[in-house]
């Protein structure tokens, strides 16, 4: 199995070669394709980039993301603002399920916020509204002061299930947002290289998602979501399907990426340890309908948070109670 992986990496034309070529050509054969470097044609630009079109976008290498740094430097309003946000599902049987009720939340640029709550409490619903996949039933939702209408590259999303396009190589998956933004092939290549380094997978660009382990897939998904330099990274239980060991190593990596890029992250989980280990702030939702029951800011100087430390355990107990007590009501 491992052997065939390394063969696939070098691209054996006798095997699936012609299919790969077909889809590569097919991807080019679309009438909408633009291939230029003019910043005016970057629909993937973030809010700030659009404001000043001449600013050169810096690649992600090591240094903290320019935008997040700027947002931190000039204190305006919060980056994400939910006001009295409510979402009600209408089921086919005609019943109504209020998944999220009256959530008011302000997230500042650079924060690592974990949404913690029991299964079915509406975490995904809230995240999907921020991502623009769902429209709020009531309330307001703003990103950088502007109302959110639908998905946009200024919010990168990492999904709970594997979402990489199986017909594209890892490289093409990561470059997808850049291609949509009309970036030239050379610059895409450079950015993809930097992103693969960032997630610690420098040599897998030519492989296909099915050749990767679950943990690798999610790391590539993170790279893909970061590629368009989004203002926010939205992550919906991205590590839930992984085994404990992979999960912990990916948590450390994500934290590393966060400290290096200072990206604002909204991270959904129902794992208390994960929330404590990662967050700069934990928002606890009650079970249906989801309401905020706790909003805890964690000191930065407590990092790295050891799972065996007494502070960790105290916080764990408190959060467990917050979830448990509300859950039993």
């Amino acid at each position: 199995m491992k052997l065939s992986l390394s063969i696939g990496k070098t691209g054996n034309l006798s095997g699936a070669g012609f299919g790969q070529l077909f889809w590569r050509l097919f991807g080019r054969l679309n009438p909408y394709r633009r291939d230029n470097d003019s910043p005016r044609h970057h629909p993937g630009m973030s809010v700030e980039d659009k404001r000043s079109e001449t600013t050169e976008r810096t690649p992600l290498h090591g240094s903290p993301d320019e935008r997040a740094a700027r947002a931190l430097a000039e204190p305006g309003g919060p980056l994400i603002e939910c006001r009295a946000l409510t979402h009600t599902y209408h089921t086919r049987l005609g019943t109504r399920i209020t998944a999220i009720a009256d959530v008011t939340l302000a997230i500042d640029a650079g924060e690592f916020v974990c949404l913690l709550g029991p299964s079915g409490c509406g975490k995904t619903t809230l995240l999907n509204m921020v991502a623009g996949f769902l429209a709020p039933t009531a309330g307001e939702l703003r990103l950088d002061g502007k109302a959110i209408h639908g998905p946009d590259p200024d919010r990168g999303v990492v999904f709970q299930d594997y979402s990489l396009f199986p017909w594209l190589t890892v490289e093409s998956n990561i470059a997808y947002g850049l291609l949509m933004a009309g970036m030239s092939a050379e610059r895409r290549k450079a950015e993809v290289g930097a992103l693969l380094d960032l997630v610690g997978l420098p040599h897998i660009g030519a492989q296909y998602p099915f050749e990767l382990s679950g943990g690798m897939k999610q790391r590539v998904a993170i790279a893909r979501a970061l590629a368009t330099h989004p203002a926010v990274l939205l992550m919906d239980e991205p590590f839930a399907a992984l085994d404990a060991m992979t999960r912990e190593s990916l948590q450390r990596q994500l934290l590393d990426i966060w400290t290096r890029t200072r990206k604002t992250i909204l991270f959904v989980t129902h794992n208390i340890s994960e929330a404590i280990f990662l967050s700069s702030r934990i928002v606890v939702l009650s079970s249906r309908p989801g309401r905020i029951v706790e909003d805890i800011r964690l000191p930065e100087d407590s990092r790295p948070r050891k799972r065996t430390s007494p502070e960790f355990n105290r916080l764990y107990e408190r959060l467990a109670q917050a979830i448990g007590v509300e859950g039993s009501e």
Binding site: G15, A16, G17, F18, G19, Q20, F22, W23, F26, G27, L29, N30, P31, Y32, P43, G44, A131, G132, F133, G150, P151, D152, P153, R155, G156, V157, F159, D161, S163, F165, P166, W167, Y176, G177, M180, A181, Y208, P209, F210, E211, R224, A225, A227, T228
Partner: protein, 252 residues
């Protein structure tokens, strides 16, 4: 090389076994040999048909009909599938019609086709294209309607417009379904071919079967059956071969 030997063994041995069992069954003479010919008889009948040239001309004529009918039906099927899965008006208008047509077997359409198009090639193309069309349409429509939401959402949040998303996400994501439909359609083109050739034809495998029936030449019928089986299986394995490469991410 070793691999090739194994493949050869896996392909040839079972067939050799079947032929041996058939020969044995025929040799026991439980059934009248005129009604149930032995492989040797069929082999000689085939030799005679090769010498007179009918075997090749029949195969060529039938293959051309199947290929033309398949091409027309598959093209229309994919295009209509694209329309009905993406444009609501088309699906409202056409889906009920196609769902009514689907239970109608190709053979039931032969009399209509002969009246409409005469006994020439067109009526055969029509019957074959009809059954291929419905199969390909259904799988295209279904595949495109059931593209996982997560791909659409991922593409949208990466900045894909609706037009781009169609080409870059919907088509590749439904390609496995479309391809399965094409493969099924190819098999159907052979099934409906025989139906189309049973009336109003002067060559083709189906016609030769019908002719053999009139003279009760069961060995020649068997030649036709074997020919259909071999051609159909070859065609199918070609489709599998292409499919493995075209939707290469599916088999992993």
């Amino acid at each position: 090389m070793n691999n090739l030997c194994i493949r050869f063994r896996d392909a040839i041995l079972p067939i050799a076994g079947i032929i041996a069992a058939w020969q044995l069954l025929a040799a026991l003479r439980i059934v009248n040999p005129v009604l149930f010919p032995s492989p040797v008889q069929v082999f000689f009948a085939a030799g005679e048909m090769i010498r007179s040239g009918v075997l090749w001309t029949d195969a060529l004529v039938s293959l051309r009909r199947a290929a033309t009918g398949f091409f027309i039906g598959a093209t229309l099927g994919v295009l209509t599938g694209l329309l009905t899965s993406r444009v609501r008006i088309f699906s409202i208008g056409l889906n009920p019609l196609f769902n009514l047509l689907r239970p109608i077997p190709a053979i039931a359409l032969v009399p209509v086709a002969v009246v409409w198009f005469g006994i020439g090639e067109q009526s055969k193309y029509f019957v074959i294209a009809y059954s291929v069309f419905l199969a390909v349409w259904l799988s295209t429509h279904h595949g495109m309607e059931h593209v996982p939401d997560i791909y659409i959402r991922a593409a949208r949040s990466l900045g894909a417009s609706r037009g781009l998303e169609f080409f870059q996400v919907v088509i590749p994501a439904s390609a496995p379904h479309i391809f399965a439909g094409l493969r099924f359609g190819a098999a159907l083109s052979f099934l409906s071919l025989v139906a189309a050739e049973l009336t109003g034809a002067s060559a083709g495998i189906g016609y030769r079967l019908e002719e053999a029936r009139q003279y009760i030449l069961v060995d020649r019928m068997f030649v036709g059956l074997v020919e259909l089986g071999v051609l159909g299986a070859t065609l199918d394995s070609i489709f599998v071969w292409i499919g493995h490469r075209l939707v290469h991410w599916e088999q992993a």
